[in-house]
């Protein structure tokens, strides 16, 4: 295969794997409903908690933003990390392996499609949440906000691509593992309260997950007055760390895919179903 046709195949694969998420997922209306409705239920419950304890209105905004960003985390868990396990169960994984294309291109397609799909859901959650609970946000620095948001997504989906290789070895535990990473990550990443409340040490440890720093930085840029005393690190420092994390996770995803695929082949786990 020449260099040019190799790249053509790579990008065609990316496009082909992103397609079902960009177009196909929008066709299943019930999923659109559930993916917006379920996080909104959780957001609404937490908003009422803050109302019950008479929290400042900015905290309602923290919850709405956290709820929207949680859609990305759930997408990374269930549609990135666990995806190769589902593909194994439905018999697609062996087709991926025999196809004359890069497995990184498949993961990248999944990630780009997932980002697009989830951005629509997250935007709906923010819009409905902000209107429903009258949340007002003050955008202080649009370029930095956009930079933080996009870098968070790159780092987060890089982490998802890395986890998906690891999940290649899993059987039923893939489902349980993803399930396990929901509430604890909501807690340590501060989805519903500023992460600084957990203490500097826990917040620093939780920064391994890009969404922790991304969320803290976005809150600083959207609710500047309230976050002055509640921020973990400055938004600029968090952005710099996120850039580093993006590069690191994409590199690790590439290495992990190659290592775990070889291991799964050797142990005969690529085609095992109903485990």
């Amino acid at each position: 295969m020449t260099g040019r046709s190799k790249w053509t195949t790579f990008w065609r694969t990316v496009r082909g794997r992103a397609y079902p998420r960009v177009i196909g997922a929008q066709r299943e209306k019930s999923w659109v409903f559930f993916e917006i409705f379920l996080p909104l239920l959780q957001v609404t419950a937490y908003v009422f908690i803050y109302r019950a304890i008479q929290a400042p209105p900015e905290f309602l905004g923290f919850v709405v933003l956290g709820g929207a960003m949680s859609a990305y985390w759930l997408n990374v868990l269930w549609s990135m990390a666990s995806q190769l396990y589902w593909e194994k169960e439905t018999g697609n994984l062996e087709l991926y392996v025999v196809a004359p294309t890069s497995r990184m291109a498949i993961l990248l397609g999944m990630a780009l499609g997932g980002m697009f799909q989830t951005t629509l859901r997250a935007a709906a959650i923010i819009t409905i949440g902000a209107l429903l609970f009258r949340v007002s946000m003050t955008v202080t620095n649009i370029p930095v906000l956009l930079g933080v948001f996009l870098t968070t997504l790159v780092a987060l989906y890089g982490l998802g691509m890395m986890l998906s290789s690891l999940f290649l070895l899993f059987g039923r535990e893939a489902w349980h593992f993803s399930n396990l990473l929901q509430e604890p990550v909501s807690l340590v990443s501060g989805f519903y309260f500023p992460v600084r409340a957990l203490g500097q040490l826990v917040a620093a440890a939780a920064s391994v997950l890009p969404i922790t720093l991304g969320l803290d930085a976005m809150r600083q840029l959207l609710f500047p007055s309230m976050m002055t005393s509640l921020r973990f690190l400055s938004a600029e420092v968090e952005l710099a760390i996120l850039v580093g994390a993006s590069v690191l996770f994409l590199f690790l995803a590439h290495r992990a895919l190659s290592y775990f695929e070889k291991l799964a082949r050797r142990e005969g786990r690529l085609t095992v179903r109903g485990q």
């Binding site: 299943e28 409705f37 609404t44 304890i53």
Partner: protein
């Protein structure tokens, strides 16, 4: 003679399904990992509330609202476990293991089988509830203790609540039998809705009045109130006027109504699923 054999079949189905459910729940990991898994999720859920209160509420965890909210949140662990767990059994057996059709071709009582599968989830939930309550009592100073514990009320609420949730799960299982792609969200959506409407983590009066009325019409609201009274010895202002007897009567009465409704809905769904060939449906979702 016939009913005796039916009872025997139901007991056998229940026993085997409970064992099977336990194996499916637990044998994917070694016991230590499984124990951690069973505890981390509910503990994290409780700690989210703890930090929300610690950051904002006047007096932090000493806020008078916190004990009721904590107990409500802990008891609610049973709801997704049993309710969504039973309906999930239909999806798991039909789509994942492809064995629902064999359950129907075997001499098995389907109701007993579904409840049996739910028991394993309830057992795991019970461990999580007990550990989280102990954490609350000893680490967070939630005033739960033997001095205030109303044993009969707690036992009555636990038994009635689990039966009520089992029938609710069977009702959802009926819906799941005749639905395809969106069945994954049904259990979660119902559990999420109940979490919001039943005043689990905030007083019911915080909801807009029309939503509060909906919350008061759901028996799980009364079940959670019964647990709050049994464990904390205090009454939520919204239910101040209800005696414990009335509270239990509401729970028992609504369980009976729900049981009738669940059996009818499940039987109708089952007939439709057979007629439309849905018992061995594979949607690949």
């Amino acid at each position: 003679m016939r009913s005796g054999r039916g009872l025997e079949e139901a007991v056998r189905s229940f026993r085997v399904a409970t064992w099977l459910g336990w194996q499916i729940e637990s044998n994917w990991a070694d016991p230590f990992v499984f124990a951690i898994y069973s505890l981390v999720k509910p503990l994290a859920g409780a700690l989210i509330l703890v930090f929300m209160y610690a950051v904002i509420a006047k007096g932090g965890l000493a806020s008078p609202l916190f004990p009721g909210v904590f107990v409500g949140n802990v008891v609610f662990i049973y709801v997704p476990a049993v309710l969504a767990g039973i309906s999930w059994t239909i999806i798991d057996d039909r789509e994942h293991y492809g064995m629902l059709k064999y359950v129907y071709t075997a001499p098995v009582s389907v109701f007993a089988y579904l409840v049996g599968r739910g028991v394993a989830k309830a057992a795991v939930a019970t461990v999580a509830v007990v550990i989280t309550l102990l954490l609350g009592a000893f680490a967070l100073r939630v005033p739960i203790g033997l001095g205030v514990l109303d044993g009969p009320l707690a036992a009555g609420a636990l038994v009635c609540g689990c039966v009520m949730l089992a029938f609710f799960g069977i009702l959802l299982g009926g819906v799941t039998l005749v639905t395809a792609r969106h069945n994954y969200g049904v259990g979660e959506a119902v559990a999420g809705g109940l979490y919001l409407l039943c005043g689990v983590v905030f007083p019911l009066d915080t909801l807009p009045s029309w939503l509060g009325i909906v919350g008061r019409a759901i028996p799980i609201t009364y079940w959670i109130e019964a647990f709050r009274r049994a464990l904390l010895g205090t009454r939520t202002p919204a239910f101040e006027g209800l005696s414990n007897g009335v509270l239990l009567a509401v729970i028992v009465g609504s369980t009976i109504v729900l049981a009738g409704l669940a059996v009818v809905v499940f039987r109708i769904a089952e007939r439709r699923a057979r007629a439309r060939g849905l018992l061995d449906m594979q949607t690949m979702y």
